[in-house]
């Protein structure tokens, strides 16, 4: 009869080493001090909700210094900020947004129920930082529609901009199909072009054949 060594001493040692490696894994597991509070699906839902933007006409009372529920943060760099900014806004350059002090400050605002509004030159510039803050759980962070550029143009008549809609983003300014396919002869070809299921490269699943066993 073939006999195996019966005392599993080495097994105990090996499994213990294995165990220790896993414990070490737990110890060295770094939990970043900033963590996402939203899963991507939540973020996706969030960005299509209303109330993510602060509209320029809502700024009027803030600029006048009568609105304590809003805090404006200018995320442009110091130099640009110094050349002109919305009165009352504080400057935190985008590079520094996730510094500990800034996050602490943000948390204070959040606890006090103050909305923090980020703005850059345009809405696009503040879009990324705004999404980041929403993802790490600061629901009080908003973005200024139109950005500083729009504000600068309308700073004297902010209240009147309520009826203006040019700062709304995400809308089509043209009827693309009409504009782009202006000549009748080509419009048919372009439209069929786009409708055709486009052949695209997909990630190739690893070929199983080569593997075998």
């Amino acid at each position: 009869m073939h006999v195996h060594e019966l005392n599993p001493k080495k097994s105990i040692i090996t499994l213990s080493i294995f165990f220790i490696i896993i414990v070490v894994g737990f110890i060295t597991l770094k939990t970043p001090w900033l963590t996402y509070k939203q899963v991507p699906e939540q973020t996706l839902r969030m960005i299509s909700e209303k109330g993510n933007c602060l509209y320029p006409y809502e700024l009027a009372s803030f600029v006048a210094g009568t609105d304590d529920n809003i805090m404006l943060i200018d995320i442009r760099d110091k130099f640009t900020y110094s050349r002109g900014h919305i009165p009352g806004a504080i400057n935190i350059s985008a590079y520094d947004l996730t510094r500990k002090e800034e996050i602490k400050q943000l948390k204070e605002f959040k606890d006090k129920g103050v909305s923090v509004v980020l703005y850059g030159d345009n809405q696009l510039q503040a879009n990324g930082p705004w999404m980041l803050f929403r993802q790490i759980g600061y629901d009080n962070v908003k973005v200024l529609a139109g950005g500083y550029d729009y504000y600068k143009m309308h700073k004297d008549n902010l209240a009147d901009t309520e009826s203006d809609d040019s700062y709304f983003k995400g809308t089509a300014d043209f009827d693309y199909a009409k504009v782009a396919g202006s000549t009748v002869s080509t419009s048919t070809t372009t439209s069929t072009d786009t409708k055709k299921p486009v052949k695209v490269r997909r990630k190739k699943k690893k070929a199983a054949a080569s593997g075998g066993c």
């Binding site: 195996h4 294995f18 896993i22 894994g25 699943k205 690893k206």
Partner: protein, 200 residues
């Protein structure tokens, strides 16, 4: 971080050196555990030697648990590793044929290589048979080409198919395997009383 080669951390020429080293380790473990003896291997089906079951299932549960921990710690990206594709009907057929091959031949490919290394002629014949079997399959391939590709289900994991999380699957495997170890220990003791010891 890992897997190293698919993630491009290790590249190119090291592939085959690594393959050789991993193969050596694999062969060493197989031989040292007693897989180079067909009577040891077949013993699992007759209850006199459960070495196959023990080694096999210990390896499976350790690997499963370890891989999940590695994934958890972020050391290994589980979605980047190769998952064996599933072709349901050909795989069931193939595994039944392999089951017959195992009990008649007493080896499986990996173990037969190690058995050749220590001078077993039956292992050599078995490997010859393997060669012939694959050759016959390849020659007759057009006959069952359709069958070969039938039942294609992509590369599903057990989680995909059963809807149980990988952690629970690993846990279930561990519990079942450990229970099996204790039960087979009792069986083995009983069976061995009625069997004449064999030399090799």
């Amino acid at each position: 971080m890992g897997p190293l080669i698919p993630n491009g951390i290790l590249t190119g020429n090291w592939d085959f050196v690594i393959a050789l080293l991993l193969g050596i380790a694999f062969g060493f473990v197989l031989e040292a555990s007693g897989f180079s003896s067909s009577r040891n291997l077949a013993g699992v089906f007759y209850g006199y030697n459960f070495v196959v079951l023990r080694v096999f299932f210990t390896a499976v549960i350790v690997a499963m648990v370890g891989l999940l921990y590695f994934d958890y710690f972020g050391w290994l990206e589980m979605d980047k590793i190769f998952i064996l594709p599933t072709y349901l009907t050909p795989m069931i057929t193939g595994s039944v044929v392999m089951g017959f091959g195992f009990i008649i031949g007493g080896f499986c490919p990996g173990t037969s290589y190690t058995a050749i290394a220590i001078g077993k002629l039956d292992a050599l014949v078995f490997t010859g048979g393997l060669f012939l079997g694959i050759f016959l399959f390849s020659e007759a391939f057009p006959l069952f080409q359709d069958f070969y590709y039938s039942g294609d289900m992509g590369s599903p994991t057990i989680t995909d198919m059963l809807g149980i999380s990988a952690q629970w699957i690993a846990f279930a495997f561990v519990v079942i395997a450990l229970a099996a170890f204790w039960i087979t220990w009792i069986i083995e003791k009983r069976v061995r009383k009625n069997i004449t010891p064999y030399k090799f």
